[in-house]
Symmetry: C2
Subunit: 328 residues, 2 copies
DNA sequence: TTGTATGCGTTATCAA
DNA sequence: TTGATAACGCATACAA
C-alpha cells in the first residue's frame, strides 16, 4: 500500500535512523490505514527476546501479594515489558513446573516468591541462571547470581516486641513459620533481640515456629493459652497465622486488646477492620514489587550490571490490640 | 546426534503416526541426551497458536479473585494451556491497554472480568472478536458472541433479605454498586423481590447504589444511621463495601450482631474471622474460574462450538452478625 | 537512503 | 517411512 519494501516498513517501525521523512510518512499512513500491527511472536523469534517477565508467586491468595503485583506490573509497563503471573498455590512441584514453563516460553527474566517449602529445582535454576532472576524475601541459594529484595523483618519485630515489653508484658509468645523460611527466621531473631536489649531472658518455650498456615496458629495458641501461666501477649509472625490466632483466642475466651495483647505482621484488611484494630509490623509491598522489577530490568537491559540486593524497612503500627497497660 | 533429518525429529516430538519405532527411539535418546527442548516461540509462529490464555482481572486486590484464578489456572494447566494474568487495578484505560496487549501477544482466548467502570474498547473487542472470549459476571455487550459465566446474585440476595425479614427487620438498607454493573443490579433485584414476596413495600429510600468502594459504603451508612428511624439491618452488596460499612457502624456506636444486623457478599477472611462472624451470600469462585476456562477452551479447540452462558448458584450462610431476634 | 536476501526454530508439503 | 524444502513474520547484513 505504501509501495515500499518490507524492510523499509520495518525500519520505520523500529525507528531506524536512516529513513527519510517522506518514507516515514508514507509508511505510517499505510500502517494506520491498514491498522497494521507487528506480530509480536515473529518479533520475539527474530530478536531473541520477548519483552515479557515471569512472576512466580507462591500463594496468590495471600493479600499482601496484590500490592507486590501492582508494583511490579506498573514498573514493567513503564519500561515496556509485560508480566506473566503464575501462582503455585503453596505447592513446590508447581513452583518447579511454572519455572520450566517460563523458561520454555523464553521470558527475559524471572521474579520469584517461592511457596513456603521452596523447591530444589528452583534453587538449581537460580544458581545456574540462563536469564536474570530476582528473588523476593527469600534466601538466595549459595553461589546464586540472582538479585534480591529483602524486608528488614528483624527490625520491625524487635520494635514490636519492645513495644509489648514496655507495656509490661513478659510472657510474650511468638508464632512463626519454619526457620528455613527467611522472614520467619528474621522475625524470630528480632523477637529475641528485643528481650536481650531489655536485659531479659528470651522465653524460648513461647517461641513456636513451624508453619505459616492458620491452623498451626490456632493449634499452638490453644496450647499456649491452656497452661497455668499463659502469655499475656501474642505476636503472629505472618498474616495468615493471624486468622488462627484470633480463632483460638476467641475460643479460649480471651479478649484481644483487653486481656490479651496482639501484634501481627503485614497490614491487611483484617488488621485494620477488626475490633479493636490490630497492631502490625507493616511494610510497603508495592515498593517491594517496584524495586524487584527494576532490579530485574536493569540486568536484562545490560548484562554487565551485577546482581544487587536491596533491603526495605519495616515499621510498627500500634493499634488497639496492643495499646493498653499490660500485666505489670 | 541421532543422524536423522530435522523433520524426523519434529515428527517424533509431535507424535506423528508415520514414524518407525527405531526412528523414535534414536530421536528420543538424542533428545534426552542433549536436553533438547522445542522452542515455544518458533512453534507458536509456525503453528499459529500460543497455547496461552489471557486473563484480565479488574481488581486483583479483591480477595475473591484469588480463587477464580486458581480455578482457571488449574483447568488451563490440565488442558495444556498457560494463563497470562493481568490486573487493571480498576482503571478502564488499563483494561483496554491490557486487552490490546493480549491480542498483540496472540493469546488463543481471553477471560475477562472488567474493572467496575468497564471500557468501550473492550465492548467493541468482544463484539467483533478475533479470538474466543469469555466474560465473568459482567453483562455481555449486545451482539457479542462471547461466552459468559454468571452468578445468580439475585437468588442469594433474595434469600438473605428474606432471612432478615423473618428476623423481624423492616428497615433494611442495601448498599451496592452502580446498576450498570451486573452483580449490583442483580443484587438490588433480589433485595426488592424479597420484599414483594413478603407482601411488603420496597424501602427504596434505603437502597443506596453507586460504587463498590469501601468509602462509599462508609459514607452512606453514616448517613443512614444518623436519621431518626435508622435501619436495623444492613446488606453490604460487595465484599469491599463491607469494610466501610463496619467502620461507619462502629463510629455510629452500633454493635453488629446485637443492635445492628449485617449481611455481606462473598465469603472472605474478614467475614469468617470478624466477631461476631458475618453472614454472607456465598458462591464458589474456584468453580467459576474452572467453568470460565472450560467454556473458553471448548471454543478454542473447536471453532464450531457455539458460545455458551452458564449461571452458577449463590447461597446464604447465616452467622452471628444477623442471627438474632430483630426489632419486632 | 532504500531494496534484496537470509535466517530465527519450527511444522507441513512434497517427493523419494 | 524418511528427507529436502518452503513458509510463518519479522529484523538486519549487505548490495545498490
Amino acid at each position: 500500500m505504501a509501495r515500499v519494501s518490507l524492510s523499509s516498513v520495518s525500519r520505520v517501525l523500529t525507528n531506524h535512523p536512516d529513513v527519510s521523512a517522506r518514507m516515514r510518512e508514507r509508511v505510517l499512513k499505510a500502517v494506520s490505514g491498514l491498522g497494521y500491527e507487528p506480530h509480536l511472536i515473529a518479533q520475539s523469534l527474530r530478536r531473541g527476546r520477548t519483552d515479557t517477565l515471569g512472576f512466580l508467586i507462591g500463594d496468590i491468595a495471600n493479600p499482601v501479594f496484590a500490592d507486590v503485583i501492582r508494583g511490579a506490573e506498573d514498573c514493567a509497563r513503564d519500561r515496556g515489558y509485560a508480566v506473566m503471573l503464575t501462582n503455585s498455590e503453596g505447592d513446590a512441584r508447581l513452583d518447579a513446573e511454572y519455572l520450566r514453563l517460563f523458561l520454555r516460553r523464553k521470558v527475559d527474566g524471572i521474579m520469584l516468591v517461592t511457596s513456603e517449602a521452596g523447591s530444589a529445582e528452583i534453587i538449581q535454576s537460580v544458581s545456574h541462571p540462563s536469564i536474570p532472576y530476582v528473588i523476593l524475601d527469600r534466601d538466595l541459594p549459595k553461589g546464586s547470581t540472582a538479585s534480591a529484595v529483602y524486608c528488614d523483618h528483624a527490625v520491625g519485630m524487635q520494635e514490636a516486641t519492645a513495644h509489648l515489653l514496655s507495656r509490661g508484658h513478659r510472657n510474650i509468645a511468638l508464632l512463626s513459620g519454619s526457620p528455613a523460611l527467611r522472614p520467619a527466621r528474621e522475625r524470630a531473631a528480632g523477637f529475641r533481640a528485643a528481650f536481650r536489649a531489655a536485659g531479659l531472658k528470651v522465653p524460648e518455650h513461647l517461641i513456636r515456629t513451624g508453619s505459616l498456615a492458620p491452623d498451626f496458629g490456632k493449634q499452638e495458641v490453644m496450647r499456649l493459652l491452656s497452661v497455668a501461666d499463659p502469655p499475656s501477649a501474642i505476636v503472629a509472625g505472618g498474616n495468615r497465622l493471624l486468622g488462627g490466632v484470633l480463632e483460638a483466642a476467641h475460643q479460649a475466651g480471651r479478649a484481644v486488646g483487653r486481656n490479651l495483647a496482639l501484634v501481627s505482621c503485614d497490614d491487611v484488611d483484617l488488621t485494620r477492620l477488626y475490633r479493636p484494630p490490630i497492631s502490625v509490623v507493616a511494610r510497603d509491598m508495592y515498593e517491594m514489587g517496584r524495586v524487584a522489577c527494576n532490579l530485574l530490568l536493569d540486568r536484562i537491559n545490560d548484562a554487565q550490571v551485577p546482581p544487587r540486593s536491596v533491603t526495605l524497612p519495616t515499621h510498627l503500627v500500634v493499634r488497639g490490640s496492643s495499646d493498653f497497660a499490660g500485666p505489670r
